[in-house]
């Protein structure tokens, strides 16, 4: 049986790391009328499509090695999303 699975890796700057991009976006959001917006942080989502069952333990290892730099970022893997 053929099936495809999509996983998402969400990578965000750590709260302790200054995110100047987030600050710039926050300022623009305030300008546009959301005066009460507090902290804004900009991260990224990496979508991975698999054919067959993904090896989530291996993906977790690759997140730590490559997709996320844990000096400055945190990550989480969002579970199987039906495609």
């Amino acid at each position: 049986m053929f099936f495809a699975v999509k996983l998402e890796v969400v990578v965000m700057p750590k709260r302790s790391v200054l995110d100047p991009q987030g600050v710039a976006v926050r300022n623009a959001v305030r300008e546009l009328g959301l005066a009460n917006v507090g902290t804004v942080r900009v991260g990224k989502i990496i979508e991975l499509e698999f054919t067959g069952e993904p090896d989530e333990a291996k993906l977790d290892e690759i997140c730590r090695d490559l997709l996320c730099n844990q000096v400055i970022e945190d990550y989480r893997i969002l579970g199987a999303v039906p495609k």
């Binding site: 200054l18 100047p20 730099n69 000096v71």
Partner: protein, 233 residues
Amino acid sequence: MKIAVVRFPGSNCDQDCWRALTDGLGVRAEYLWHKETSVAGYDAVILPGGFSYGDYLRCGAIAAFSPVMQSVIKAAQTGMPVFGICNGFQILCETGLLRGALIRNRSLLFLCQPVSLKLENNRTPFTRLSEEGTILSMPIAHGEGAYYADDQTLRELEEGGQVVFRYVDQHGQPTPEANPNGSRNNIAGICNPSGNVLGIMPHPDRSWDRRLGSEDGLQLFRSLVDTLLSVAA
């Protein structure tokens, strides 16, 4: 003596480094393509500036896993001098050979300007010919050059003498105004505990001849060559 200048797809300071070594010092330098799997036969490795692999994912992140870097990592761990400049510094942090990371400049601007640097550690192969406290002028050219490490790591770097260069004002003071990019503790360059791996954001390869506006950068290459000669002697 033979020094390797690594070329990644997207390197753009490889020729500057090669020129500093060959034209500046008369030393033999060779380009080493990122797909090479060995640094055998070389006495030192330079990781030049640029935008390796298009800076995709994070600056230096993909280069850190390139074939050539696996052999550079091994060589560095056994004492070979490895000198990362700009993108090369970012790559060294991504490999874990150097601690911390380089993040987006606080201003969000790509900065291309001369800066003043204070040498804080002359016990590395790259700085041994200069006095500590020397102020050097070199250009920076980066968008992601703000050095970041957590408090604990910073403390260990400072206590271990691993901060090699700091951004300073004309009086040699590391003031906030002299900090171009938001680097913690005004850090412009650090080394590993044994000193054979140095990463620096400013460009000695663009300041090795008076015609480039400064020749202060040549001293770093000269120190490296002097080190290699004294090892060979």
